[in-house]
């Protein structure tokens, strides 16, 4: 019964061996805020090298925990720089491969047009409703938002109005549904093709908070994965940097 299938199996094995040397596949864990750009980047990677990516998106904290517990990822594009650093210390990442692939741009956004002015004065408005921000303990955009409010001297005034999303995605949801009047979100969430999708925003001056460094790192499992190494190289190429910028990140 099994004999007739043997040639097929040999052929299949040969085909697999062939692809293994020329077109590899990497499992990439990506912070949720970078879900859109990574799709475009994966398409470029496949077109130029034939390598493919299998992308899992989620909260950086959750991904980090998964990796520590043996999740089969080759590359990690985090929303922060602490977790890739920790993975390197833990011996779970390939040393020397960590670098900043994007810098997050914080914006104050409202789903209502004309609500947020170009200087963020709305934060001092008497009729200001709920202000959403991401959990500063776990989301770098949330930590940056706290710094902004403190540096503007608004920390105590805004405290009773604050609501916290567990992630920058949930924070965006609070504002999008109008449950929060304004919110500190990632510029990448409110832009489409480089332009504001809807509502109104204030691009928070980067001087008001520590840079939101999003670091990438190759994990131990991806050390000899060609697709993983190719992705890291691609992320540093000028064309891809332009692409990342168009999604509302600094590079």
């Amino acid at each position: 019964m099994r004999l007739p299938f043997r040639p097929l199996a040999v052929l299949l094995f040969a085909a697999l061996a062939h692809t293994a040397t020329h077109a590899a596949e990497a499992q990439v864990a990506v912070a949720a805020n970078f879900a859109e750009p990574i799709k475009a980047i994966a398409a470029v990677l496949e077109k130029t090298t034939g390598h493919t990516l299998k992308v899992s998106t989620g909260a950086s904290g959750a991904i980090y925990t998964q990796i520590r517990n043996g999740a089969p990822f080759d590359v990690f594009l985090s929303a922060d720089h602490q977790r890739p650093e920790l993975l390197e210390k833990d011996g779970l990442a390939q040393p020397g491969t960590r670098f900043t692939y994007a810098t997050g741009q914080l914006v104050l956004w409202s789903a209502k047009a004309g609500r947020v002015d170009a200087k963020g004065e709305v934060l001092k408005a008497a009729d200001l409703g709920k202000v959403a921000y991401a959990n500063p303990k776990t989301a770098p955009y949330g930590a940056a938002a706290v710094q902004v409010m403190e540096r503007l001297g608004l920390g105590t005034a805004l405290a009773p109005k604050l609501v916290q999303g567990e992630s920058i995605g949930q924070t965006f949801g609070f504002v999008k549904t109008g449950n929060a009047d304004v919110g500190f979100v990632a510029m990448s969430q409110v832009l489409l093709g480089g332009r504001l999708k809807e509502g109104s925003m204030w691009v928070v001056p980067p001087a008001l908070h520590d840079p939101i460094r999003q670091d990438a790192v190759v994990l131990k499992r991806g050390e000899s994965n060609e697709a993983a190494q190719a992705l890291i190289k691609l992320l540093q190429s000028p064309n891809i940097k332009d692409l990342i910028r168009s999604y509302g990140y600094g590079v």
Binding site: Y64, K130, N135, V163, G165, E166, T177, G178
Partner: protein, 239 residues
């Protein structure tokens, strides 16, 4: 406020989350007793076409993920949603990010845990006690309070314990509509999630162990109670 022992085990914000959780679960259970009991009675007694659809609606949270419930609460209760707009028109604040909002969400979320046990004890009642009460000229209200409720006590107690415990264990709904505000909406489950996400594993472990112990004690109590009820009714049958 905290005794020395608690302070070693749990942080002040953990204790605050526990206290808040008990408040949400307590109030939710009380509301469910007041709403769920008559609702179960209608479902048990009425022979109308809409009884089955209502029964299915009540059971929905058993099947739906809490994220679905939380999402719809956020959208419909928000300032752009129909219910949210109605509340604003009445001069009331919208519910997301408030203690009241959490309770409303929990009432939906735990509704079947109250209604199902009460309903099944009411269905098990049969016609005879009601006919006996009617022949003694008891009014329907009188019958409900003095015949039905005492006879359905096991169902009511099971429903109360299950509603309370289920609300304590709630996570998805509060995560979606809560806003994680300390003392207002940050309940124990969200606090544990926070600890884990912030890599505070020791803190997460302590609070999670408390929850685990609580859940076990509740379920054990329920088993002991049900076991007692069964042997009582068995004896009653023999007598």
């Amino acid at each position: 406020m905290a005794t020395g022992f608690e302070a070693v085990l749990l942080t002040p914000s953990d204790l605050q989350a526990i206290w808040l959780t008990l408040q949400v679960a307590g109030l939710t259970t009380l509301i469910l007793l007041l709403l769920g009991t008559p609702l179960a009675w209608w479902l048990a007694r009425l022979r109308r076409w809409w009884v089955k659809p209502v029964g299915a609606l009540v059971a929905l949270p058993l099947v739906l993920p809490p994220s679905v419930l939380g999402f719809y609460l956020l959208v419909t209760l928000g300032p752009q949603g129909p219910l949210g707009q109605a509340m604003l028109a009445l001069g009331l604040p919208t519910l997301p990010f408030t203690f009241a909002g959490l309770v409303v969400g929990s009432v939906f979320y735990s509704l079947p845990f109250m209604v199902q046990p009460v309903l099944s004890s009411m269905q098990a009642l049969g016609e005879r006690p009601l006919e006996a009460a009617a022949s003694l000229r008891a009014s329907p209200l009188d019958t409900f309070f003095n015949v039905v409720l005492p006879l359905c006590k096991p169902g009511l107690i099971t429903g109360t314990i299950m509603s309370f415990a289920h609300t304590v264990g709630e996570f998805g709904v509060v995560l979606m509509v809560g806003g994680n505000i300390p003392g207002v909406t940050r309940v124990v489950s969200v606090q544990i999630y926070d600890h884990v996400e912030a890599l505070e594993y020791a803190d997460a472990h302590r609070l999670a162990a408390v929850m685990l112990g609580f859940a076990f004690v509740v379920l054990l109590a329920l088993q002991l109670y049900n076991g007692r009820g069964r042997s009582e009714s068995a004896n009653g049958g023999r007598a």
